[in-house]
């Protein structure tokens, strides 16, 4: 259904389809100034509400434990305790947790990219009997919450002895229907004539996938890669269920256990939280554009 050839990127606000409140005639202009000021006021308040918790997290991570709950609230600690960021590595297994998390995230993302885009090509450009029905099944399961079938899945994994290994979490995350859906939406916007021409020129289906589709879909692959990486990094439930051995813990599990163990050391808890968020923040800021496009695409009905 999606017609445009490129990802339906969010146009810069105001350039296309200027919003409903965009003043363009004289009657509108009269209200423009107050409306604009109100708009900014709401934006500032909303941004503060959205970001203050993060700000507090960072500022608390630089306090002493007693200073975290000072009255009134200190937003800027007088003498930043940078030592917290040294201490945390010493008293926790942060390094192990980070290593495990990076491993899981990278493997899951690689698998998801490959199987997802490969299958998406099958659904978008190849023909075989039952294709549309199967795709419908894929879409249908997006509406089924994982929590509803985690029990049978767990039984299965324990039958084959995968519990308490990272492979359980990898298997869990790597074949999501969402990835197939996202890539398929993108491939649908690439004209069939392109594939047809390649076929006439003697390229096999695999050749078309590798030489034409993959290079053309780099933006969509980037979106999927970033979304998958972040989801795996942040996942708490999968690791909670499958990774019992502390040596296998991800940063999320580690952080949670750290909080219960050092419940009074508020500042260090915040230090750990900041450290768990920093990698994601970097990935997010670098790849922002692709995140936004990925989300926008997944919201379009095909």
């Amino acid at each position: 259904m999606a017609a445009p050839h490129t990802l339906p990127a969010l146009a810069e606000p105001g350039t296309v389809g200027a919003g409903p409140a965009e003043p363009s005639d004289r009657r509108g202009t009269r209200f423009a100034a107050p409306g604009r000021i109100l708009g900014y006021a709401v934006l500032v308040v909303a941004a503060a509400g959205l970001l203050l918790p993060f700000f507090w997290m960072v500022s608390s991570s630089l306090k002493t434990d007693n200073a975290v709950f000072s009255i009134p609230v200190t937003w800027f600690p007088d003498s930043p305790q940078w030592a917290n960021y040294v201490e945390i590595w010493r008293i926790s297994d942060m390094l192990v947790w980070l290593k495990n998390t990076v491993f899981l995230s990278v493997v899951v993302t690689a698998l998801q990219l490959f199987t997802g885009s490969f299958a998406a090509y099958g659904f978008a450009k190849a023909r075989f009997p039952g294709r549309n029905l199967l795709f419908l099944v894929y879409i249908g399961t997006i509406a089924v919450p994982w929590q509803a079938y985690m029990i049978p899945q767990f039984i299965m994994m324990s039958e084959v002895g995968l519990t308490n290994t990272p492979w359980a979490v990898i298997a869990l995350q790597a074949f999501s229907a969402f990835g197939v859906f996202l890539m398929r939406q993108y491939y649908m916007t690439i004209p069939d004539e392109l594939c047809e021409a390649a076929r006439v020129d003697g390229l096999s289906e695999y050749g078309i996938y590798f030489r034409i589709m993959l290079p053309l879909s780099v933006p969509a692959l980037a979106s999927l890669a970033l979304l998958t990486f972040v989801t795996t990094w942040n996942d708490y439930l999968g690791p909670l269920i499958y990774l019992r051995d502390p040596d296998l813990w991800t940063i999320q599990l580690g952080l949670k256990s750290f909080v219960s163990e050092y419940s009074a050391e508020h500042a260090l808890i915040m230090t750990g939280s900041v450290l768990s968020v920093v990698p994601i923040a970097v990935v997010f800021l670098l790849g922002q554009k692709y995140f936004v496009q990925g989300v926008a695409t997944s919201g379009l009905k095909g």
Binding site: G17, L43, Q147, F175, S273
Partner: protein, 308 residues
């Protein structure tokens, strides 16, 4: 594809080549889907089907699965904890869905204008969604502290003398969780709405303005109808998301105090993976599954009727 040999007899060499060609294409098509389908079928489809069978058994970690018919479900009817979990899930959804919907749409409308700093704000709004639930829940728990927590201090500035105990109080724990849930997710749905707003043709607004419609009328009669596909999608996603809410609650309150924030997903986890009562947990899962299917189907039906 539709080229046929005009007037030729069946089963010519050309026909056979074409059939061979088509079969080969089908096979290749299947080979594309297969790697993903193996994982998907084994890890998603299989468990979904198995779920229904297990829910009719008394399977636990030691014993063998014995078929017990509807026993699990009749026991659910009398299980007070289950009732509590179901009601809490509905409580969470009843506030989380409309609040997130309204705020994300409001923010999207605001961002869809020519204002400076819009891009920065878009980033800020989306950031909570990409940060881990664990870090967020930990930070909010401290923010919500009863005595010296920043939130209660800010409330104090506004003259609230007896601020709520939030996650330590069985009355206020759920509102606290709802606030964090809305805060975390509204940026995501805002992006979906923003994408939807780009598809509203500006000519319609222009025409409405010329006809003398004010801002509210234009919103009601132009923006909202054009946004309907997006609103529909967002509502379905939000509903399913609310029904399955779990990790946020697990880290923030662990269902407590008491059972004041116990939700369905968590009850499944408790019965199935802590107490290892697979059969009973599967029966609860079937209820969750049915709830999600029901609202999705109803919303599809309503959407179709409105479109007709």
């Amino acid at each position: 594809m539709s080229t046929t040999t005009v007037g030729g007899p069946r089963n010519t060499a050309a026909d056979r080549t074409k059939r061979w060609y088509r079969a080969r294409r089908s096979l290749q098509g299947v080979s594309f889907v297969l790697p993903n389908f193996l994982g998907f079928g084994l890890l998603t489809l299989g468990p979904v089907v198995a779920l229904f069978y297990i829910s009719f058994t008394n399977w636990n970690v030691f014993g063998k699965a014995k078929w017990i018919g509807l026993d699990n479900f009749t026991r659910l009817l009398g299980d007070a904890s289950f009732h509590r979990a179901l009601l809490n899930t509905l409580y969470y959804s009843a506030f989380h869905i409309p609040l997130t919907l309204a705020l994300s749409l409001g923010l999207a409308l605001l961002l869809n204008r020519k204002l400076r700093g819009v891009q920065f704000f878009r980033t800020a709004a989306f950031f909570p969604y990409v940060t881990s639930i664990v870090a967020i829940a930990i930070a909010w728990n401290l923010l919500f502290s009863r005595d010296a927590g920043p939130i209660n201090q800010i409330l104090g500035l506004f003259g609230v003398d007896d601020p709520p105990g939030w996650t330590a109080s069985s009355t206020w724990a759920m509102p606290a969780v709802i606030i964090v849930g809305v805060w975390r997710e509204m940026g995501y749905y805002m992006l979906l709405f923003l994408a939807g707003l780009q598809t509203v043709p500006p000519e319609l607004h222009e025409a409405a303005r010329i006809d003398g419609a004010n801002a509210w009328q234009r919103f009601r009669n132009v923006t909202l109808p054009c946004l309907r596909p997006t609103t529909f999608f967002v509502t379905v996603m939000l509903t399913i998301g609310s029904f399955k809410v779990f990790d946020l609650i697990l880290v923030m309150t662990n269902g407590g105090p008491g059972q004041s924030t116990l939700v369905l997903s968590q009850y499944i986890y408790q019965k199935g993976l802590v107490e290892n009562r697979f059969g009973y947990a599967s029966a609860i899962s079937v209820v969750l599954f049915a709830l999600c299917m029901l609202v999705t189907v109803v919303q599809f039906a309503v959407n179709r009727r409105r479109n007709a």
